[in-house]
């Protein structure tokens, strides 16, 4: 059991299963296919990211360094949140990037989403957490890998 403390972007308490992207997560490429079919569950569809490709992301704890790719990324996060098909939490090891930050803010303000986002968890967090781990998130930004 190991705990990390990050900065709360959008707070909440949650316990769930981690899906880990070791590389920058391309938001559009990852979410596009499921969103296109209006699927209730997002399956990662970025073939260039084997860490999340083919994995269910809806309701999971998505652990990543930052997001990358098209500047539509914010809108894509807002869209999956509006469909309630989003990961329950985004845990960033680095400072949240501007595209993901936009998406989280858009989801909170315009969709009343309960999505959780915590950043600045550090490289050690990303080195430690593995896909399939159970992760507990507290309102104050504490993340514990159980």
């Amino acid at each position: 059991m190991k705990s990390f403390k990050g900065r709360v972007i959008a707070g909440g308490n949650f316990k769930g299963e981690a899906v880990v992207s070791r590389q920058g997560l391309n938001t559009l490429a990852t979410f596009q296919k499921s969103a296109l079919t209006r699927s209730k569950e997002v399956i990662g569809s970025d073939q260039n990211n084997p860490d999340v490709f083919g994995k269910k992301l809806t309701g999971k704890v998505l652990c990543l360094p930052q997001t990358i790719g098209s500047t539509t990324g914010g809108l894509v996060i807002q869209t999956v949140c509006s469909l309630k098909a989003n990961p329950a939490a985004f845990l960033f090891s680095e400072h949240i990037d501007s595209l993901a930050a936009s998406g989280i803010v858009l989801a909170k303000v315009w969709e009343n989403s309960d999505v959780i986002a915590i950043d600045l968890l550090g490289q050690e967090f990303l080195d430690t957490v593995k896909t399939g781990d159970t992760v507990e998130i507290k309102e104050d930004g504490t993340v514990t890998i159980l």
């Binding site: 596009q32 500047t71 539509t72």
Partner: protein, 438 residues
């Protein structure tokens, strides 16, 4: 000045009374949500205040009515119903479709119209209602003189199109962060943008010194790619390029910097670069722009070759020849269109062909296309069998059915976001004019 924190305990940012009033709903619930989004976004990046946008025209990145983005259309309707428009006007990225100049099969049209871009008409109607400049406002190169959305040095912007942001910051000396879609619109509505990052003097300092030691003028798209991949979101200060580009900005080197910048922004996440002795801030401030602990990156011929060879070939059948090619991502300048016309005409004479060897689409802003159509080059390009469009090649290739085509391009941005294969300009020309072995 007072702070929201003292009044509401919710925000740390210093806000004016007018901004506070909007936040508290005095201009309606929707306006309150718009400014709340901008303030919350700024706070994540430690912005201490909102600063006024000083250029009258915005530019939006979201130009496509892609069916899945339901919240976009709902939000636009909410803005329209509340009578909200941007301050000034805006241009927007290129349209995804142009059936007249970029032919599609019935199946492709069905996919585009009914599934992929099923909301295009509705979205364009919404854009007009919130402040779209005009019908010709669809381009990623809004800053070109033929389009007229050209900020001046020092202007504060809230654009999101990555190639336009890096051009405005670097070549024009304006100040703009790499924003996301929607934040570009919301900031243009409130007329303010959070002050952080590339809007500040400190944020514009370079943390990389890049030395270009090549034996000839490097291909803009490959040099930009190399630098983008190395520095990612950092600011590079580039030495040695003035040897090839000169020390005064002109149409030719501005076209070069447009393509170079788009590659730095798409192959990395560069929002600003400085070219020693050439770009405005580098000319004015020189090495004062470089942070003391800046890292170094040396680029020679071998490094560019290594970068080019690292691009994966995504064609379904790499052994087959190209079926189509797109030139103009970002959209071409008037001079680039004229140069390509001259080169193709000369190349066709050499190969003894009358027409281009494959479907060849040149893309440029509607305003640039109109100017080009007045020139003596236009009938010559058409006679060579090329197509001219203002489509977004990226949006066209964002279609699973195009995967059956071998699409070639000289754009590193298009290569990055699609299955198109990258060729340098000379190789691309050889393919277009049907030179043997290509």
């Amino acid at each position: 000045m007072s702070t929201v924190e003292t009044r509401a305990g919710e925000y740390k940012m210093e806000l004016t009374q007018e901004q506070l009033d909007i936040l508290e709903g005095k201009k309606g619930e929707t306006m309150a949500k718009v400014i709340k989004t901008v303030v919350m976004f700024g706070e994540i990046f430690g912005a201490k205040r909102l600063v006024p946008i000083t250029h009258n025209s915005g530019h939006l990145v979201t130009s496509f009515g892609i069916g899945i983005l339901a919240p976009l259309y709902r939000t636009m309707d909410e803005l329209i119903n509340a009578g909200i428009k941007v301050k000034g006007d805006f241009t927007v990225d290129p349209r995804p479709l142009d059936y007249k100049n970029v032919k599609c099969t019935m199946l492709e049209k069905l996919l585009f119209n009914k599934i992929l871009y099923s909301k295009q008409e509705q979205y364009e109607s919404q854009l007009k209602k919130v402040g779209l400049k005009d019908e010709d406002g669809f381009t990623c190169t809004c800053y070109l003189p033929e389009v007229g959305n050209t900020p001046k040095e020092g202007d504060i912007l809230a654009w999101a199109e990555s190639s336009a942001v890096v051009y405005a910051n670097s070549v024009l000396g304006a100040r703009c962060n790499r924003n996301s879609g929607m934040l570009d619109l919301f900031s243009s509505i409130v007329g303010y943008v959070p002050e952080f990052g590339l809007l500040t003097d400190e944020g514009r300092k370079a943390s990389w010194k890049v030395y270009v030691n090549t034996t000839k003028k490097p291909e803009a798209q490959v040099l930009g790619s190399a630098i983008g991949m190395k520095v990612m979101e950092d600011v590079p200060y580039v030495y040695g390029l003035d040897k090839f580009l000169g020390t005064e900005l002109n149409d030719e080197n501005k076209s070069y910097l447009k393509d170079f910048g788009a590659a730095t922004a798409s192959n990395g996440a560069v929002g600003l670069y400085h070219i020693d002795n050439l770009t405005p801030e580098a000319k004015r401030c020189g090495e004062e722009l470089i942070k003391p602990d800046a890292k170094e990156y040396i680029i020679d011929d071998a490094e560019l070759e290594r970068i080019k060879n690292s691009y994966p070939i995504m064609w379904k059948d790499p052994n087959k020849k190209a079926d189509k090619c797109f030139i103009g991502c970002p959209h071409l300048t008037l001079q680039q269109l004229k140069d390509w016309t001259d080169k193709i005409e000369k190349g066709l004479k050499e190969t003894g062909r009358k027409k281009v060897a494959l479907t060849t689409v040149f893309t440029a802003a509607p305003g640039v296309v109109k100017e080009f159509q007045k020139s003596e080059h236009y009938p010559r390009l058409m006679a060579a069998g090329a197509k001219l469009s203002s489509i977004c090649p990226l949006m066209y290739t964002n279609n699973p059915l195009t995967k059956k085509y071998n699409i070639a391009t000289n754009s590193n941005k298009l290569r990055t976001y699609s299955a198109a294969r990258f060729y340098e300009d000379d190789e691309m020309l050889a393919i277009i004019v049907g030179k043997e072995g290509h």
